[in-house]
Symmetry: C2
Subunit: 428 residues, 2 copies
Amino acid sequence: MREGAVSAQEYMDACLARVREVDGQVQAWAFLDPDHARAQARAADEYRLSGQAIGPLHGVPVGIKDIIDTGDMPTENGSVLHAGRTPSRDAAVVTLLRAAGAVIMGKTVTTEFATRSPGKTRNPHNPEHTPGGSSSGSAAAVGAGMVPLALGSQTTGSTIRPASFCGVWGFKPTHGLIPRPGMFMLSRTCDHVGLFARTVEDLALLAEPLVAFDERDLDTRPRARIPFVEVVGEEPPLPPMFAFVKTPQWRHAADDTKAAFAELVEKLGDRVEEVELFPSASEAWTWHQIISEAEMAVNLELEWEKGRDRLSEHLRARIERGRGVRALDYLRALSRLRPVYGTFREIFEQRYDAILTPAAPGTAPKGLASTGEPVFSTLWTLCGMPAVSVPLMQGENGLPLGVQLVGPRDGDARLLRTARWLVGRVAK
Amino acid sequence: MREGAVSAQEYMDACLARVREVDGQVQAWAFLDPDHARAQARAADEYRLSGQAIGPLHGVPVGIKDIIDTGDMPTENGSVLHAGRTPSRDAAVVTLLRAAGAVIMGKTVTTEFATRSPGKTRNPHNPEHTPGGSSSGSAAAVGAGMVPLALGSQTTGSTIRPASFCGVWGFKPTHGLIPRPGMFMLSRTCDHVGLFARTVEDLALLAEPLVAFDERDLDTRPRARIPFVEVVGEEPPLPPMFAFVKTPQWRHAADDTKAAFAELVEKLGDRVEEVELFPSASEAWTWHQIISEAEMAVNLELEWEKGRDRLSEHLRARIERGRGVRALDYLRALSRLRPVYGTFREIFEQRYDAILTPAAPGTAPKGLASTGEPVFSTLWTLCGMPAVSVPLMQGENGLPLGVQLVGPRDGDARLLRTARWLVGRVAK
């Protein structure tokens, strides 16, 4: 596209054709106006022809999870309470995408307020299975080839799990790397912007312009540009070393997941070692629940006050639990968390380039009532560590199964490079 | 001293002579070993004579509040529970002071865990009156001429109030400007390092080397050096404009305080306007209590578990209240706070260089049972705004009465420059 071999309009037309072909079944979009998408693509082509400098995503369509504000499209946060909501301005990440030249194709389906209650989307590989959630539409749209790139979010496992289920790359960068203003906030401590793409190179292309300091997001900070694209293109100076971590959730892993990992570990030979986490890591699932539910209770307070009868039963229960949390327990969980950061840092500094662990307990469960379990993401999300789901395996049912790699905080670009190395190694 | 006109040893000897003269009555020191102090001064002189580059505080004695860790002296946090505690390393600020050449003279008396229950210190201007607290010893030691500079802390009004009562300059910089690791933590949101000196120029000299990023203190961030000394030495480009703010606490102000402020406002003429705060500001006192007590409950949890019977009744009651705070109320208070920052920023951007308000309701109360009321500091502390107590007035009883100036966050050096201007203007 940069060279003009394919115009933005041709590319968009191909995407829209694919939407017409498969979205009747997949239902990945919460809002998609083909004319508006085409008009943006046309404007991108005209801009390029004018000879002005173009951004790294010039003319590339991106799907945006419907909890991320767009000034030109509705943003309904997956709730009837916000039906018809039309924000007056773009979220920080949408502004960054537009500045990089991207075309905001449409809004993708989210579960209710990015929590558990599912939307209409189905798994592109088998419509009887869930696409995962909460970034259901983003993962499914990329998985079905309707759009090459999409944004989602992750507060527990909302990017890694649907990426695994839909057979695409999913990336949850370090906490605070990508600014969140304009994205519906559930939990300052746990919320992250998530990224979806079909290749790791595309993931790098999408990530690079999104790293920014935003003074409205207290967890971002000024930092040097991270050369994602360049780093991902490099060979690692040494073959990476992996720590295979089963986590205290291993009992939840399906038999075919366990078998697939045994095979992968064997294939990696001396490049992988099984590592058992320090004891306090097993408390992280409780800490995550305390912290995220306490923060959700405040962030959903208005919805609770004005329309709790129109929240799902599941979400009502979580808010109710969150409202009952003592500040003492909340702050204690936060304070216990901090030393864990240091312990993980040591694991990486001493020996390992990435932790290797399942992206989900297994392939996408059958049925649409549940989006599956996020338990294999909770710990890394809580600790703000970068994680990527690599579409590398299949379950016995032929559905995709992701390998999750987790890196040290701020080791995002190297983590993607390691992931690319892994794909090459396993393909051998 | 820089030129060698006075050696560090001569200066220290003069300080120690003053200690012998007045400290029997004032009792500002929790720990002071004259031999150790002299040995440090001697080492400073030897270092200077060796011709090596010297720091901005070379050979200058500094008193350190006894909640700030020193690797070479005990740090007992004002509690029998920590009696005999000897930290293995210096607090971040002590490291910075030593790097700037300062001599750590000794540890100054703090109230119990920097809260309300008083230590042994008396007001240097009248031993029947409180020196204020919680940085009682630091304020009194500087006020009595036993040391030129001292560090304290402020979680509500623990620097500004004792500075006012003891007739010295007290400075509470912007939240996060000076790193806190190694200082006993009560409340991440409200804790600040506080500074004491006899002149504003000395305050600038002390502040400059203390500004630092420390990754262990999540509220600090990398920033350019702040040229405190240079800025304080400059004339303001325009005569500053003051906003006289009575705050919702004005009813607590003593009659002589009210009269002194009326006189000061008249003297400032068209350089001051009375400003009424926006309505939500009046909630800040409640928010401060919720936030600081919830955080104290966690930070004092070990003391509560192991020795609550040896805590003061007052502190036990606060911890008990803090343990009962709901995360919902804690997080709600934090979230309401954020917009207030913006409102204050506008006040300063639009018209005013500093807010002018009492440092305390009146002069130091008689008796040692109470350290006085911090109500005129609460709001600025909670909002992390820089505040300085200027020893400019006297009460009817002849005791000192401070004028508090408050500036916008990160406007620290300019605030001190404005304070210097005020002193010159009032002296005319």
